[in-house]
């Protein structure tokens, strides 16, 4: 067994520096690496490029980094829930690269799997395809998209073991598992860290080879963005 455990968030992020490119898992606020986002705010690293499907809300998730002007560029598919984000984008303080959601996911998976680029039909004929190579396959047009290149991937899982194996819960898997192994270093925070051997190898979602560091997260808020319920009869 190759041990991936580190003592905590400080240890896990000791070599994070200004100007780096990060991948951050999550969809909306579901499955975001809460402990590591909080640590980025504490360290105060700046001029960051962040690859994340969304940009959090004003007072949680990546919104916390935006408020402190730590992010130089965001690569996302949807950024609609954050006023500070919109203000910084319209004033030109923040560079934003909007990417179709499936393309964003595949740019992670391609990086994880060693593909430099791939063809997708998404965005063909739209402003997303401007300046990109296009090609016809079987009568349909496709756009060439590059894999991401990032310094760190910060992901959050439900359970993990000392070997870095991960299991996710519900829709909190989203971009988290695609980002594992897609950056130079992948760090996972988990709600429950267990000794090697406790997780059933049949049930592992992400094998530990894709994860370099793992630690037990603390004080998860797990905020709900849109609480929708129905009444009992």
């Amino acid at each position: 067994m190759i041990r991936k455990t580190v003592s905590g968030v400080e240890d896990a992020m000791v070599d994070v520096q200004d100007g780096m490119t990060f991948m951050l898992g999550g969809f909306g606020l579901c499955g975001i690496p809460e402990n590591m986002i909080a640590q980025l705010v504490r360290i105060g690293v700046k001029n960051l490029t962040c690859i994340s499907n969304n940009a959090g809300v004003d007072d949680f998730g990546l919104g916390l980094l935006l408020k402190k002007h730590q992010i130089k560029k965001m690569i996302s598919s949807y950024v609609g829930e954050n006023e500070e984000f919109e203000r910084q984008m319209l004033s030109g303080e923040l560079d934003v690269e909007l990417t179709p959601q499936g393309t964003l996911a595949e740019k992670c998976r391609a990086a994880q799997a060693g593909f430099p680029a791939f063809y997708t039909p998404a965005g063909y004929g739209t402003e997303v395809a401007i300046g990109k190579e296009t090609r016809e396959f079987n009568g349909k047009m496709y756009v060439l998209e590059d894999a991401f290149r990032a310094d760190f991937a910060f992901v959050k899982a439900w359970k993990g073991d000392e070997a870095g194996n991960l299991i996710f819960k519900g829709t909190a898997r989203n971009f988290n598992s695609c980002m594992c192994g897609a950056a130079k270093i992948t760090v996972a925070e988990v709600e429950e860290l267990v000794p090697a051997g406790e997780l059933d190898p049949n049930q592992i979602h992400v094998p530990g080879i894709f994860v370099q560091r793992i630690f037990q997260g603390k004080n998860y808020e797990k905020r709900i963005e849109q609480r929708t319920v129905r009444k009992r009869n």
């Binding site: 969809f27 579901c30 996302s76 964003l104 998404a122 739209t126 997303v128 829709t171 695609c178 319920v229």
Partner: protein, 219 residues
Amino acid sequence: MTMLDKNGIAKRIAQEVKDGYYVNLGIGIPTLVANFVRDDIEIEFQSENGVLGMGPFPFEGEEDADIINAGKQTITTLPGASFFDSATSFGMIRGQHVDLTILGAMEVAQNGDIANWKIPGKMVKGMGGAMDLVASAENIIVAMLHTNRAGDSKLLKECTLPLTGVGCVKKIVTNLAVLEVTPRGFKLLERAPGVSVADIVNATEGALLFDGDVPEMKL
């Protein structure tokens, strides 16, 4: 002239959902379609953030922050449901395993182009999964109002807003009509109850084709 409300549009679209379909519903009117699907057919709803077999909203007190739909709303799952990652989810969409995509639009052109993600200078929230959905789905139905708030047609010769996808829309259901995109323009298939062909002609900027008596929708 009477016209359908949003629930009426959803009710008509629900008739297009067939037994055995995997269906992706967009935000807005499309979400309402789930309320009107016949209960004697077997279908599953996909949400692109990573769930198949989506069920209704949870009972109060049973919300789970880890189980949401693409609109970030808390949901439940039905027997047979599964969870997966975003790349797999869009593999289902890009690989045409999802049978039907229903989504909203700001504009549709007579050649099937669609614009629904950006109003330059006003709304720049991002395309989310819309570009992947429209570029890949074989069967796309657009649910929208026939005209905008100013009364201008949303069914155009050419889109004026930045495109989401080119030549991809096949069918449109509005508060006035059911239309099909053909090589020569929008073909009028059905009228909303109480709406005349002339009403639809007046509300449509793009080329509109019809022959004989256009039947009324059965709701």
